[in-house]
Symmetry: C2
Subunit: 354 residues, 2 copies
Amino acid sequence: MAANDRRSNRQLLLTSRPTGRITPGNFTLAEAPIPRLADGQALLKTLYLSIDPAMRSWMDDADGYMPRIRLGEVVRSAGIAQVAESCHPSFRSGELVYGLTGWQEFSVIDNGNESSFGKLPPDISMPVRTLTNLAGATGMAAYFGMCAIARPQPGETLVVTAAAGAVGSLAGQIGKIFGCRVTGVTSSDEKCRWLMEELGFDAAVNYKSGNWRRALEQTCPGGIDILFENAGGEASDFILTRLNSRARIVLCGLIASYHGERQARVFLAPVLMKRLRIEGFLVADYAARFDEALRRLARWTLDGRLQHRETIVDGLEQAPAALNLLFDGGNVGKLLVKTDTTADVAPVATLVEQ
Amino acid sequence: MAANDRRSNRQLLLTSRPTGRITPGNFTLAEAPIPRLADGQALLKTLYLSIDPAMRSWMDDADGYMPRIRLGEVVRSAGIAQVAESCHPSFRSGELVYGLTGWQEFSVIDNGNESSFGKLPPDISMPVRTLTNLAGATGMAAYFGMCAIARPQPGETLVVTAAAGAVGSLAGQIGKIFGCRVTGVTSSDEKCRWLMEELGFDAAVNYKSGNWRRALEQTCPGGIDILFENAGGEASDFILTRLNSRARIVLCGLIASYHGERQARVFLAPVLMKRLRIEGFLVADYAARFDEALRRLARWTLDGRLQHRETIVDGLEQAPAALNLLFDGGNVGKLLVKTDTTADVAPVATLVEQ
């Protein structure tokens, strides 16, 4: 579909800052003209938006690892896009890129922002929605959190919080691939079943059930060697008391504290006594290894060792509601907003090895 | 001096558990017979006891990275000792060893405990008190905390808490050797002068002075890349708010919280946002690299790049008072108890390179 099949570029702007949960009133749907390209630019048509917990923190009036979104600005968001037209020497029409598209239907890539986009290797053919899951921040976070930070050893016990989420569900499966015993912590019995029956987790615990502490403890009789932390809630506090010596805490997210109602923390005395390692990380720090990561994730997926699931919400205007879904525990796997109805046309194909 | 020059082995036993500060009443001075050796044993004569903050935590009714000291048991302590008699195939009379001698004049090494002792290389000749400082847990903690965990880069800013202590004073100097800008945090103006004028720290801040926060901030205009943490007190809380992205917290000690009046903690949100790494460690985990560490520390010392200072307290019976000195900020550098008046006879000599 050519860019000028549509007369405008629909965008969601952040027009007021949320306190606590976001509401539709924090955003304004605007229609901007589709940008005309200058030399050195390419026009990107957004296919899927990746809905990630960190986006909520970008809306606060404070800078984190990325600056806050300014009022009146298009909401910052990762997404997968296709080059619709190109006057850029490195991008050809039809190519797929992953990067900060924003909550809008079209965006422009040029030398001012091209470092925030990565081209997807054309020899890895998968449905676009799967690529958005694996090649995006969530797949990369699971991969580097496990392979670069946790560095699991066979026989170790891994606990993953927010385990049915996009990152958690992949991180736990990567733990299994490396020979760990894996427990997932999640928010419903249905999600527990999915983790155990479909994804092969050894155990799963619903932290909303009455006896979750006891259940969690029983799934880890030998203590816990790795906490893959996506939550920072009450379950995490409990897990921290059950860590073995030399355990690692991969700090990937703190979804339980993004609305400011809770300040997750660790006491240092056990970190000292048990020689723990706690490490926060940003996927962008591992940019040089993206290709390695994507090829391994794709290989595991095609071999059937890595299951994935996407929850798809249709239409750009649903993006704010989708973001709230994340915090309500309403999604399983990777949450995507489909911005273009023609998006999911790429065929499933085998991975072409390098 | 042969073992039987003395008729008994004086020992300090832990006979009641301290609450807060230790008192003389927590210990009983006992006289046991000097052990007779069986085959496979060697008799060690303690020369110096190393007085370390962690010892206080071993006296609590809780197990940490080492089990608690049992009531009625000789107080566990590292020290340097000389082999007085040997029926052990690997130890010869006259050799120096470092390890868990305990608060006693004589101890026995055999295959039940020899893994907790290390023989000092005979080709590194230094005064025994210096060896106790460098080859002991304090020198090794400074070395591995900096070289294995912090991994400093030239131009980075390092802040050391309890900087005039045995570990801190060495860690800061190692930072200088690696090209860091180094600020020490300590408890008196006199110690500040020592750190800057004698040890070459770029800055030092007395956290008991009125304007310490402002002073500390001014010494680190570009933020802080490494916190070498020995304290866990108020200054540490402030330093944690001034860390740069990808900063490392080397968790070596928490002397401000060993009496239970304070629970040092870190909030996880900044660890996530700034991609921090927090790591506790135990010197024993690096046993395979002790020889490397001792040779580098000795080389730096003989080259004049690493200054050291020992505070010597005379007599086994003074060990409890010496341990309290540590928490009162009453010592500079490494605190040792000299248990034998003939101890410091080894000559200063040059390092024989391997």
